[in-house]
Symmetry: C2
Amino acid sequence: MTRKYEEIERCDCDVIHEDVVYEVKKKMPREETLYDLAELFKVFGDSTRIKILWALEEAEMCVCDIAFLLNMTQSAISHQLRVLKQAKLVRSRKEGKIVYYSLSDDHVRQIFDQGLSHINEG
Amino acid sequence: MTRKYEEIERCDCDVIHEDVVYEVKKKMPREETLYDLAELFKVFGDSTRIKILWALEEAEMCVCDIAFLLNMTQSAISHQLRVLKQAKLVRSRKEGKIVYYSLSDDHVRQIFDQGLSHINEG
DNA sequence: ATAATATATGAATATTCATTCAAATGTTCA
DNA sequence: TGAACATTTGAATGAATATTCATATATTAT
């Protein structure tokens, strides 16, 4: 067979609808964009972080509060807050020795809502 | 200190804003709901699956087509399609020995859009 | 029936990652 | 200054999982 994509090496099977694939390939976003998107959703893909985000949607809280709410160690919460902060989903504010966390924007609620409506239709 | 939640054992620090935490706790969804939500986002949290979903948004395709498009083995794609199908994000249709996959609903696009708008604001 | 092809599947491997534990940092207060 | 406390951080451990490889299943054509 002849292939339009001659650089392809890892694929071990014949393409069946080459023209369709070719059109789809042209419309795909940049590799990097798709990677970033996956990285963002990976952050949402952990129930501890989901709980933290959901909680912060209700109120600003400090690390101890969240640890207490979720019945987890303060260290575990702190590690997860760092992940959330790196993803720019939460921001922090320091007041003395206490660090308050809150959501950094309102996408979280909208992403949750879309996810929930998918779940609730199954 | 006295705690309203006496069953809590794993938390190793004092709660600071007990009333806030108490109110937040009342508003939290069921544990199972939050778990399911995390499981759903976990499915989105892999760039191979993101690529598959994005591709299927453009056109229905068979396993070979997708493997060819993404330059991956047919086996790897098949494994990931199973994950997507279990999450009810894709559905399949068999025509002879060829299995065609497509998106099962339109939440995928909306979830992508929310994710992208978060990324593009950073 | 046999060959060829499309897909699925199970085991193995390698990597990623959530939590724990111990220790460090930074802040308040006596 | 030193004790107490809130938080952070780094290393270690164990669990989850993406891909590969080999093989199985199913369908079509000869």
